[in-house]
């Protein structure tokens, strides 16, 4: 996957997953609780989103001990970072097209196109 080519990504497209990806791409790794509080979702909802991202190979989960407690650490994989970059570029392209041609035909995501 080339990060320089705009590409809508159905895994990252959901608002919560986009925020998770944006956060994890800004850091090397983050704790589960930090991601949960920043995105503003419950533990179970975050777990569900992470499962989808992990299945896509975008996120890596690991356990680490800190202050005697086992904590879950989340990190974006290289594939995930590239997918996020390509998705953001696609969003940026869509916004720029609309700025220059407000009546442009709306685009569809790859997932919709496949259906």
């Amino acid at each position: 996957m080339n990060a320089n080519i705009p590409r809508f990504d159905p895994v990252i497209h959901a608002p919560a997953r986009l925020q998770i990806a944006a956060l994890l791409c800004a850091v090397s790794d983050a704790e589960f609780a930090t991601v949960r509080d920043t995105v503003g979702v419950s533990d179970s909802v975050l777990s569900k989103h992470l499962k989808q991202m992990e299945d896509a190979g975008y996120v890596r989960l690991s356990k680490a001990s800190l202050d005697g407690r086992v904590r879950t650490r989340l990190a974006m994989t290289k594939v995930g970072r590239r997918a996020f970059a390509a998705h953001v570029k696609a969003l940026q392209a869509l916004v720029s097209v609309a700025e220059y041609a407000p009546a442009a035909v709306p685009l569809v995501t790859e997932l919709e196109a496949a259906q």
Partner: protein, 159 residues
């Protein structure tokens, strides 16, 4: 996996970009380190250089203590921030990291040469005295560049 119920338009794209930017701004707010962290980093770097002035056996002991202090510092960062940012991350901060590495390496090499070839035993201590302010300043600059990157618009969202 949920699907879009309608085609994605520019307003949706803009909203998505704004959400992603908001997350990065929040990271930036959290990532502001207290001044003593920069000083601690400077001390760690300076200690690394100063240890070369000590006799080999002492130098090994100092390095062991240094490694322990380094681990404690990483733990403190993770505990406070809830995340960790590698100094060698891609982006504009990488230039700052490389510049700092070159500065410290040059001073280390110069001090070792002075110590071993010119028999100036205190050279590593003098180098450490120069590394300390450089590392503190470099740490500040690194943070400033990182925060600027996090607070910038959608053009820098993609890593």
């Amino acid at each position: 996996m949920e699907t879009q119920s309608r085609p994605l338009d520019a307003a949706d794209a803009l909203r998505a970009l704004e959400q992603a930017e908001a997350v990065r701004r929040e990271v930036a707010q959290r990532a502001v380190c207290p001044p003593h962290w920069h000083v601690a980093f400077g001390l760690l770097m300076a200690t690394l250089i100063a240890a070369q002035a000590a006799p080999p056996l002492y130098a090994v002991g100092i390095m062991a203590l240094w490694a322990g202090a380094f681990v404690l510092m990483l733990r403190a960062i993770r505990r406070r921030l809830g995340f960790f940012v590698n100094g060698w991350r891609r982006g504009r901060t990488l230039r700052v990291s490389i510049a700092l590495l070159v500065y410290c390496e040059l001073l280390l090499m110069a001090s070792l040469w002075l110590k071993l070839s010119q028999h100036i035993g205190w050279a590593p201590l003098a180098a450490a005295a120069l590394v300390f302010p450089g590392a503190v300043y470099g740490s500040y600059v690194w943070q400033r560049v990182y925060l600027a990157e996090m607070n910038e618009g959608p053009r820098t969202l993609a890593p």
